[in-house]
């Protein structure tokens, strides 16, 4: 065998033995005291970095959300204010209109009342005047007839006097 005949290519039992011993110890010591803590530290750090990045991203999103929420709330508030103002204005207008309507109605009523009152008074007064004028006419007539119309001058004077009286009595 080519491999076995050369000292380079045939594994020596002693070297093999020591290689196994040294490598095994090297592996066991490193696995327990080096790789475990090193790998876990690296992993921990990577996870921390990943976690921090994620939480930063979350915070950013949260802030954006808050911002848009604020905007929304503000918008809502503005709308509400607008609507309240509008309502107030409506109420005011309605009140004014109502008041105006009532007032005119009242006035009209009053005017109507007054007018009917005046009419009534007028009718009453006219009838009274008519009565009085009739009474006076009768009085005058009786007086004239009583004096038997003696003197023209005196008659005229008397008529005037009576007329004067009528004028005075007339209110």
């Amino acid at each position: 065998m080519l491999l076995a005949s050369n000292s380079l290519t045939s594994p020596a039992i002693g070297t093999l033995f020591w290689a196994v011993v040294i490598f095994t110890l090297f592996f066991l010591i490193l696995a327990k005291f080096a790789w475990k803590p090193i790998l876990s530290a690296i992993k921990q750090r990577e996870e921390m970095i990943k976690g921090s990045l994620a939480s930063a991203e979350n915070a950013r999103k949260e802030m954006l959300k808050l911002q848009s929420d604020n905007e929304l709330i503000l918008k809502k508030a503005r709308e509400e204010r607008e609507s309240i103002l509008k309502e107030a204005r409506d109420v005011r207008d309605k009140l004014i209109a109502e008041a105006k309507g009532k007032a005119t109605e009242e006035a009209e009523k009053l005017i109507e009342k007054a007018r009917t009152g005046i009419e009534r008074e007028k009718v009453k007064a006219l009838s009274e005047i008519r009565e009085q004028v009739a009474g006076l006419a009768i009085d005058i007539a009786t007086k004239l007839l009583g004096k038997k119309l003696e003197q023209t001058g005196e008659q005229e004077k008397l008529i005037d006097n009576y007329l004067k009286d009528i004028n005075l009595n007339k209110n």
Binding site: S7, A12, T15, L16, W18, A19, V20, F27, L30, W35
Partner: protein, 354 residues
């Protein structure tokens, strides 16, 4: 895998093949013009394992080296531990000597009473060799690096990466995000991360240390040693098999849609496939790293083959170029080994949904 990944992998594999033929030329440098310099043994001595860490050879032939401990076991003498200095220069010690010639070159053999090599009775050699020292140093550097990293995480908690973290964390994250998760998936990747990270950094540190030529724990050809790559591939193999799902085993032993009389042919083919995967891992890493070392050494050997200083600048220029390339290969091979291990694991953990 994404198409981009496949093209990338294709290049990586192509790259591996491209460096292999050069290994051949490295070995063909063996006909030196002068008898003094034997390029073949120079190169092979450097890339193969050894019981001593050779630093330099003085003019009088005496060598300066770090002598590593030899640990031997055989039935008669039991366990023996001694310095490899006692075996230097072909010396005999307690009936053992370091074979310098022939098929057993570089191995410790026992010598019988007449001074002859007893080929029947070769002791088991558990010596702390150059490769073992290099591997141990790499493991210690890795442990120091990652244990202090883990401590720094305990201290800083989950703040931004700092200090050693900013240097290693991208690599760990690369392994996780570009090798493990794309293959194994998000849910199950955590189970395999420790193994794949360990393999990745073990190979990477050893590859890089192999590129640094000098002070002793550096420069050993660890990931270019077949026993080491065999071990790594074996671990991958075990991890793949113990995590194999029912559907994975069914595909091997009762491939759906295959008529039953085909199974005697299909089962061996499938089993070869199961073994071939880690085998390819083993060979790829070994060949790439060894080839790199051989090329660099061959280029350096040119200076001594031509025995001329004029060649040196050219040689050094190419060595620097190759070292840059090897730096890339060091990362690439760690990446490929981990990637393919992850891929094979992902093939074994498939759920039944056809």
């Amino acid at each position: 895998m994404k198409p981009g990944k496949i093209i990338w992998l294709f290049f990586v594999l192509l790259f591996g093949m491209f460096s292999l033929p050069v290994m051949g030329t490295g070995e063909n440098e063996k006909s030196p013009e002068k008898e003094k310099f034997d390029a073949r043994s120079f190169i092979l001595d450097h890339v193969s394992d050894s019981h001593e860490w050779h630093i330099l050879t003085k003019k009088d032939g005496e060598s300066v080296a770090i002598y590593l401990p030899v640990i031997l076991y055989n039935k008669e003498s039991g366990l023996l531990i001694f310095s490899s200095r006692r075996l230097s220069h072909g010396n005999e010690y307690k009936g053992f000597k370091l074979e310098e010639e022939g098929e057993l070159k570089g191995k410790i053999v026992s010598v019988n009473a007449d001074g002859q090599v007893d080929e029947e009775n070769i002791p088991l050699d558990f010596s702390i060799t150059k490769t073992v020292v290099g591997m141990l140093a790499a493991a210690l550097i890795g442990l120091w690096l990652f244990l202090s990293l883990s401590r720094s995480y305990k201290k800083t908690g989950i703040s931004h990466p700092r200090g050693i973290q900013s240097f290693l964390e991208p690599v760990i994250c690369f392994v996780r995000d570009d090798i493990v998760i794309p293959n194994i998936g998000q849910e199950e990747h955590e189970k395999f991360m420790p193994y794949l990270l360990t393999v990745f950094f073990f190979i990477l540190i050893n590859n890089l240390m192999g590129l640094i030529p000098f002070p002793p724990p550096f420069g050993a050809n660890v990931t270019g040693n077949i026993a080491v790559t065999f071990t790594l591939a074996f671990f991958s193999f075990v991890i793949i098999q113990i995590n194999g799902t029912k559907s994975y085993w069914k595909h091997i032993f009762a491939t759906p849609g295959v008529p039953f009389w085909m199974l005697p042919i299909m089962i061996p083919v499938e089993i070869i496939g199961v073994v071939a995967k880690p085998f390819a891992l083993m060979i790829r890493l070994f060949a790439n790293i060894t080839a790199g070392h051989i090329i660099v050494l061959s280029l350096l050997a040119l200076i001594f083959i031509f025995d001329s200083l004029v060649v040196a600048p050219v040689s050094i220029f190419f060595v620097i170029f190759m070292d840059c390339l090897e730096l890339l290969v060091a990362f690439l091979q760690a990446y490929v080994f981990t990637l393919l291990s992850a891929l094979f694991i992902s093939l074994a953990i498939v759920k039944e949904h056809h």
